[in-house]
C-alpha cells in the first residue's frame, strides 16, 4: 500500500481488514434481499439485481434529473415505488409459480430479468452517461490509516441495520412469521386466519425495497450502468449460501467473509502467470461452490407433481418420420434463404441442439443445469484444436471432453438437489469463464481460434447451405437418440428420478449412477453442439460461451417445452426468427424485451411449454391421428407383461 514507509505488518493487516469490511458490506446488502425473498416465497430471484437497477435509475431520475431533495427521492423510491413493483411482480408472475419446479421458477425470474433490463434501457438509454454521486461526497474519515468515505460507512451501517430489523421482523412479529409460514404451508396459514396472497405480496414488496436499497447504495460506488447493477448480485450468491438462504445474520457474515477474502487475497497473495489471473475475480464463485458442497445434506423432499403431465413420447416410427421431415424442410428452406439469413437461422438450429441437451437432463430427469453453454464451449475448443480441417475426430473429442468434464462436475453435485444443484452448475460455469476460457493459453491472446467445418466420408460441409442442412441432420439424429433413450429403461429411471427421489430411494434405485450418466450424456450432447456451432461461426472465442448465455438457453428451452425434442426445436427457431427479424427491421430492438415478459408469464400457465400446447391442439384437430398414437404401446411393455404372466403360471 502507499503511505508511511515504516508501517508495520499489523497496521497493514488492519488496513486490508477495513477495506474488506467495506466490500463485504456491499455483498451483504445485495445478498440480504435475495435471502428474504427466498425465505418468504420459495423462489430464488435471479432478477433481484435487475429490480435494484431499475430503482437506482429511478432514484437518479428523481434526484438528479428533477432535483428532488434526497430524503424525498429516497422515500418515494424505497418505500413507494419498489414495494409497488414487488407487489405487481408477485401478482402477475410469481403467483402462478406455486408448486412449480426449480426449472420453471428460475426461468420465470430470468424472463423477469430480461424484461426489467429492457425496460431500464428503453427508459434510460445507455448512450447517455449518468452518474450518481456517493452520499456526502467527498467527505471521508480516517480509520486505522485507511480513508473510509461517509458513503462506505453508511453502507456498512445500513447493512447491519437492515439485517437486525429483518431478523426481528421475521422472527418476532406476527406478519413476519406469517411471511415465513406462507412458504412452508400455505393452507395451514390460511386456516389460521392470515391471508396468504397478501402475505406473499408483502414479502415481494419487502424484497424489492431491499433490492432498491442495494441498488442506490451500490450504483455510486460502481457505475450507474444497467448490466453491472443487474448482475452484481451474482457475486453475492455465496454470501446468501452461507446463510443457507434462511439466516440473515449468517448472510451478513457471509458477505463479510467474502469481502475480507477478496481483500486479503489482493493484499497477500500475488500469484502471477496466466493461469492465476482469473483467480481473483472468481473468488466469489469459488466460495459459492465450496459453501454449496459443505452444506449439510438436504432432506429428500416428497415431490410436488406440479403440471407434471408428461407429453407422450413419439413412437419409433413417428420420430423417424419427424426427423426425415425436418431434414427435408431444411434442405428446401436452405435454397430460399439469403446467405446472411442462412447463418442466422443456422444459429437458431445450433442453439436448438444445445437446448436438446437439456431435454434428458432437465426435461426427463428434472435436474436443472445452468452450464450447457460451458460444455458447448469446451466442445468448440476441442474442435478447434483437434478437428483441424474438419476431421470427425474433433467432434468425437468434443463430445468426449465435455462428457468427462460433465462427470467431474456431477460427482460433487450428486448430493445436491434442485436449486442448489442449479447454483452449483452456475458456479462451475462462472469459474470456467474466469479461469479457463479467458486464459490466453486456451483461446490465445486477444484471441479466437478458427474452427473448421466438418468433412466426413468425402462430404465437405463448408458451404452455408450444406452446413445448414448438416445442422438439421445433427438435430434430427440427436433428437432420435433422445427419444430412444426416453423409450428405454434408462428413460424410465430418469422419469422416476424427476417424479420422486424418495420413491426411487425406497425401491433401491441408484440415484447417483443415474445422475452421473445423464449429466455425462447431456454434457456430451452440448459439447457436440458446441463443436458444430463453432463450425458455423468459423471461430470460437472466450466470450461466446459465457455463463449468462446459459440462462436464456434454459428459458427458451422451457418455453418451447423442455420435455420434448420438438420443444427444443421451437426454442431454437424462436431465437432464429427474432434474429432475422432484427436484422431486417432495424427498429425492432426494444420490442423483444417486452415479448420476453409475455413469454415469462406464459410459462406459468403452460409448464410443459409450447410444443405440448401445439401437440394438444394437433390432437384435437386430427383425432384420428391421435388415436393412432394412443394405440401404440410402449415398446417392451408387452414383453414384460407376458413374462410376468408366464412366470405366474
Amino acid at each position: 500500500m502507499h503511505g508511511e514507509p515504516d508501517e508495520d505488518v499489523v497496521t497493514q493487516f488492519l488496513q486490508y481488514t477495513v477495506l474488506g469490511i467495506v466490500t463485504g458490506a456491499v455483498y451483504a446488502i445485495a445478498a440480504t434481499g435475495l435471502v428474504v425473498t427466498y425465505s418468504t416465497s420459495g423462489i430464488f430471484n435471479i432478477a433481484h439485481g435487475a429490480i435494484g437497477m431499475v430503482m437506482a435509475f429511478l432514484y437518479w431520475e428523481l434526484r438528479i434529473n428533477h432535483h428532488w431533495p434526497a430524503p424525498i427521492a429516497l422515500f418515494i423510491v424505497v418505500f413507494v415505488a419498489a414495494p409497488l413493483l414487488g407487489a405487481v411482480i408477485e401478482r402477475t408472475l410469481m403467483r402462478r409459480l406455486r408448486g412449480a419446479s426449480v426449472a420453471q421458477s428460475l426461468v420465470v425470474t430470468v424472463g423477469l430479468l430480461v424484461l426489467l433490463l429492457g425496460v431500464g434501457e428503453a427508459i434510460w438509454k445507455p448512450t447517455v452517461a449518468r452518474e450518481l454521486a456517493p452520499f456526502f461526497d467527498p467527505k471521508k474519515f480516517k480509520l486505522l490509516g485507511v480513508f473510509v468515505s461517509w458513503h462506505d460507512a453508511i453502507t456498512i451501517l445500513v447493512g447491519i441495520a437492515v439485517a437486525i430489523f429483518l431478523y426481528i421482523f421475521l422472527a418476532r412479529t406476527r406478519i413476519g412469521i406469517a411471511m415465513r409460514a406462507v412458504v412452508d404451508d400455505r393452507n395451514l396459514l390460511s386456516l389460521n386466519g392470515a391471508q396468504p396472497d397478501r402475505v406473499s405480496m408483502l414479502s415481494w414488496a419487502i424484497g424489492s425495497s431491499l433490492a432498491a436499497i442495494a441498488g442506490i447504495l451500490l450504483a455510486p460506488k460502481l457505475q450507474l450502468n444497467h448490466i453491472v447493477l443487474t448482475l452484481l448480485v451474482v457475486n453475492a450468491y455465496a454470501a446468501a449460501m452461507v446463510g443457507r438462504l434462511r439466516s440473515l445474520p449468517m448472510t451478513y457474515v457471509g458477505g463479510l467473509i467474502l469481502g475480507l477474502a477478496e481483500s486479503y487475497y489482493i493484499g497477500y497473495i500475488h500469484l502471477t502467470g496466466s493461469w492465476w489471473i482469473g483467480l481473483r475475480p472468481s473468488l466469489p464463485t469459488i466460495m459459492l461452490f465450496v459453501v454449496l458442497l459443505l452444506l449439510p445434506e438436504s432432506r429428500l423432499r416428497a415431490a410436488r407433481l406440479a403440471g407434471a403431465v408428461s407429453p407422450r413420447v413419439p413412437s419409433r416410427r413417428m420420430s423417424l418420420t419427424g426427423a426425415v421431415i425436418l431434414v427435408g424442410v431444411a434442405a428446401i428452406v436452405s435454397q430460399f434463404l439469403g446467405s446472411g439469413d442462412l447463418i442466422r437461422v443456422g444459429q437458431g438450429l445450433a442453439f436448438a441442439l444445445i437446448m436438446l441437451s437439456l431435454v434428458p437432463l432437465t426435461g426427463y430427469g428434472g435436474q436443472v443445469s445452468l452450464c450447457q453453454m460451458t460444455f458447448a464451449g469446451l466442445g468448440a475448443f476441442a474442435m478447434a484444436k483437434l478437428g483441424v480441417n474438419g476431421s470427425i475426430v474433433g467432434l468425437v473429442v468434443a463430445a468426449g471432453l465435455a462428457a468427462a468434464v460433465g462427470a467431474v462436475i456431477a460427482l460433487p453435485a450428486l448430493r445436491l438437489q434442485g436449486l442448489y444443484l442449479a447454483l452449483s452448475t452456475m458456479a462451475f460455469a462462472a469459474l470456467m469463464d474466469y479461469m479457463f476460457f479467458t486464459n490466453q493459453h486456451v483461446f490465445g491472446n486477444f484471441g479466437t481460434l478458427p474452427v473448421a467445418r466438418l468433412k466426413f466420408l468425402g462430404l465437405h460441409f463448408t458451404g452455408e447451405k450444406s452446413y445448414f442442412v448438416l445442422l438439421a441432420i445433427a438435430f434430427a439424429g440427436l433428437s432420435m437418440l433422445v427419444m430412444w433413450v426416453r423409450r428405454g429403461p434408462f428413460g424410465r429411471r430418469l422419469s422416476a428420478m424427476r417424479d420422486s427421489q424418495v420413491a426411487c430411494a425406497t425401491i433401491g434405485m441408484s440415484l447417483a449412477r443415474t445422475k452421473l450418466v445423464v449429466f455425462m450424456l447431456s454434457a456430451a450432447m452440448a459439447g457436440l453442439a458446441g463443436a458444430l456451432y463453432g463450425g458455423l461461426k468459423g471461430s470460437a472465442g472466450p466470450i461466446d460461451f459465457q455463463m449468462f448465455q446459459s440462462l436464456p438457453i434454459l428459458l427458451l428451452a422451457v418455453l418451447g417445452g423442455i420435455t420434448t425434442a420438438s420443444g427444443a426445436l421451437i426454442g431454437g427457431l424462436a431465437f432464429a426468427f427474432l434474429g432475422v427479424l432484427q436484422a431486417h427491421v432495424a427498429s425492432i430492438g426494444g420490442l423483444t424485451f417486452l415479448l420476453t415478459g409475455l413469454g415469462a408469464v406464459s410459462i406459468g400457465r403452460n409448464p410443459n411449454g409450447l410444443s405440448f400446447m401445439f401437440s394438444q391442439r394437433l390432437r384435437r384437430l386430427f383425432p384420428r391421428f391421435s388415436a393412432e398414437t394412443v394405440a401404440l404401446p410402449e415398446p417392451g411393455f408387452d414383453e414384460e407383461v407376458e413374462r410376468v404372466a408366464a412366470s405366474a403360471g
Partner: protein, 444 residues
C-alpha cells in the same frame, strides 16, 4: 383467439433474450475487469520506450489547418473544383454495372455496426457518420456519376450476427465501408473468402485486422505500439517515469477494446478510489478512451489535473492528467474544414447525434473509399479497388487524424496531448497539429 395470441406472443418471445444475453457477454468481461484502462494495444510493455529514436522532432505537424493538401497522391483528375478537401468526382463518367453492387447509377456500400443488443447504440455513430459522408459525397456529384447508397447492417453485438451481416454484404453490396463492431472476428473469414473490400473504421479483433480483404481507415496493429506518446512524457517528466505502471484490463481484449464506455468508467472508478485514498501518481496518461464528455461529467475532480488530495501528498506537484489522441480535436473545428464537414453533415442526417471517435473514423473510411474509387475511375471493380487501396501509403483525411499507411496496414506514429482541466479538454502539446517523434515498436 386469446390462446393463439398468447401462443404467438410466446413464440415471439425474446430471442433477444439470447441476443441480449449475447450482449451479456460484455458483462463477464466487466466483472473480470476490476479496474484499469486498456490502451488500444493492451500489451504488457512498460510506458517508457527503449528503442533508439531520432531526436525529438517536435513541432512538425501533419495535417494542417488548411485543407489544401487534398487530392495529391495519384488520382484521376485531382479535385481542384469546389471547395477545400475536394476529391472531386473526376472527369470520369459511369461505366455501367462493373461488379457486385455497382450499377450505372449507383454504388451500394454496406456498414456493419453493433447497434442493438444488450448495450444498444454502441456503435450507432458509425452508421450515422456513414450516412453523413455518403450524403456529402452525393451532394458533390457522387463518384464517377454514380450515387452512393449505404446498406446499414446490425451485427447486434454478436459474432455470429457479424458473420451473417458480412455474408449478406458480400452478395448485396460492392464494399464494406465504415464498419465498427466489437465482435468483428465473426465476419473475418467470410469476408476474406468472398473477397469484398472492407474499409472498416477501426478493426477490433486480430482475426479481422489480419484478413487480406480488410484495409481499415485506422489500421490498429495488435502487435505494435506507437511510442510517440510515451516519448513525450519521458521528455517532460524524466523523474516520474522512473517508476511507471501500465494498466490494462484483463479479459478478452475483443470486448474491452470495443466497449470504450466500460473502459472509461473503469478509469473513473480508479481515480475516484485514488482520490478517496488521498493518493495520486505524479502523472496520469490515458488513451482516447477518456476523450469524451461522459468521462468529464462522471469523473468530476478526480479525473482532472490537480485533483484535491494530490497536492496534499506530493507538494507543489501539479499532478497533470493527460489524454493522447491521434485525431483532431472537436473543439478546433473552426480551423479544420474536414472536421467542420463531418460535424455539419452529421447534424444534417441525424440531428442531435453525438460525434465521437468511431464516427470520426467511419467518416474517414467513407472518404478513403471515395479517394480509392476515384483513383480507379469508371471501371469500378473490387480487384481494382484493392489495388488502389494498396497504393495509398499516407491517409489523414485532410487533417482529420494523423496519417496512416493504408496499403501496408500500419498506423502512424504521431500524437497530440490534451490536459483535463476543470474547463474541459485543453490542448497541451504541441501547439497545433501533432508531433511525430518515436516509431512503431513491435511487441510480440
Amino acid at each position: 383467439m386469446r390462446v393463439r395470441a398468447k401462443v404467438v406472443a410466446s413464440v415471439l418471445l425474446s430471442v433477444s433474450l439470447l441476443a441480449t444475453a449475447c450482449g451479456a457477454r460484455l458483462t463477464a468481461a466487466q466483472r473480470a475487469a476490476g479496474i484499469g484502462a486498456l490502451t488500444k494495444n493492451g500489451g504488457s510493455t512498460t510506458g517508457s520506450a527503449t528503442g533508439g529514436t531520432t531526436g525529438a522532432t517536435t513541432g512538425s505537424s501533419i495535417g494542417g489547418t488548411t485543407g489544401a493538401t487534398g487530392a495529391t497522391t495519384g488520382g484521376a483528375a485531382g479535385g481542384t473544383t469546389g471547395g477545400a478537401n475536394n476529391l472531386g468526382s473526376g472527369s470520369c463518367s459511369s461505366g455501367g454495372a462493373t461488379d457486385t453492387g455497382v450499377t450505372a447509377n449507383q454504388i451500394t456500400l454496406a456498414t456493419v455496426a453493433d447497434v442493438s443488443g444488450v448495450q444498444p447504440g454502441l456503435f450507432k455513430s458509425a452508421w450515422q457518420a456513414m450516412s453523413a459522408v455518403t450524403a456529402y459525397i452525393n451532394s458533390q456529384g457522387g463518384i464517377c456519376g454514380r450515387q452512393l447508397k449505404d446498406l446499414q447492417l446490425d451485427s447486434q453485438a454478436d459474432s455470429t450476427q457479424n458473420r451473417a451481416a458480412v455474408q449478406q454484404a458480400c452478395t448485396q453490396s460492392f464494399a464494406l465501408v465504415g464498419s465498427m463492431s466489437a465482435f468483428d472476428d465473426g465476419g473475418a473469414s467470410v469476408g476474406q473468402q468472398c473477397g469484398i473490400p472492407d474499409i472498416s473504421a477501426i478493426t477490433v479483433n486480430a482475426a479481422r485486422s489480419n484478413a487480406s480483404n480488410v484495409y481499415p481507415a485506422y489500421p490498429v496493429g495488435p502487435n505494435y505500439i506507437n511510442t510517440s506518446w510515451g516519448l513525450q512524457i519521458k521528455q517532460r517528466y524524466p523523474d516520474a517515469i522512473k517508476k511507471s505502471a501500465f494498466i490494462t484490463l484483463n479479459a478478452g481484449a475483443s470486448v474491452q477494446n470495443g466497449n470504450q464506455r466500460i473502459k472509461a468508467l473503469s478509469i473513473v472508478r480508479l481515480q475516484k478510489a485514488m482520490q478517496q485514498a488521498g493518493w495520486f501518481p505524479q502523472v496520469r496518461v490515458w488513451d482516447s478512451v477518456a476523450y469524451s464528455p461522459a468521462y468529464l461529467s462522471q469523473g468530476g475532480t478526480a479525473v482532472q489535473s490537480q485533483p484535491s488530495g494530490c497536492n496534499d501528498v506530493l507538494k507543489n506537484v501539479p499532478c497533470p492528467a493527460y489524454v493522447f489522441l491521434n485525431t483532431a480535436l472537436f473543439q478546433e473545428a473552426s480551423s479544420n474544414p474536414e472536421m467542420q464537414l463531418y460535424l455539419t453533415w452529421l447534424q444534417r442526417v441525424a440531428p442531435g447525434a453525438q460525434p465521437d471517435y468511431f464516427g470520426l473514423y467511419a467518416w474517414s473510411a467513407g472518404r478513403l473509399f471515395q479517394k480509392a474509387a476515384t483513383m480507379v475511375g469508371a471501371k469500378l471493380t473490387r480487384k481494382a479497388l484493392f489495388s488502389a487501396l494498396q497504393s495509398i501509403h499516407s491517409w489523414n483525411d485532410f487533417g482529420l487524424h494523423i496519417a496512416h499507411d493504408i496499403g501496408a496496414k500500419r498506423e502512424g506514429n504521431c500524437t497530440l496531448y490534451v490536459e483535463i482541466k476543470s474547463s474541459g479538454f485543453v490542448r497541451a502539446f504541441p501547439a497545433s497539429g501533432w508531433t511525430c517523434t518515436g516509431s512503431l515498436m513491435k511487441t510480440s
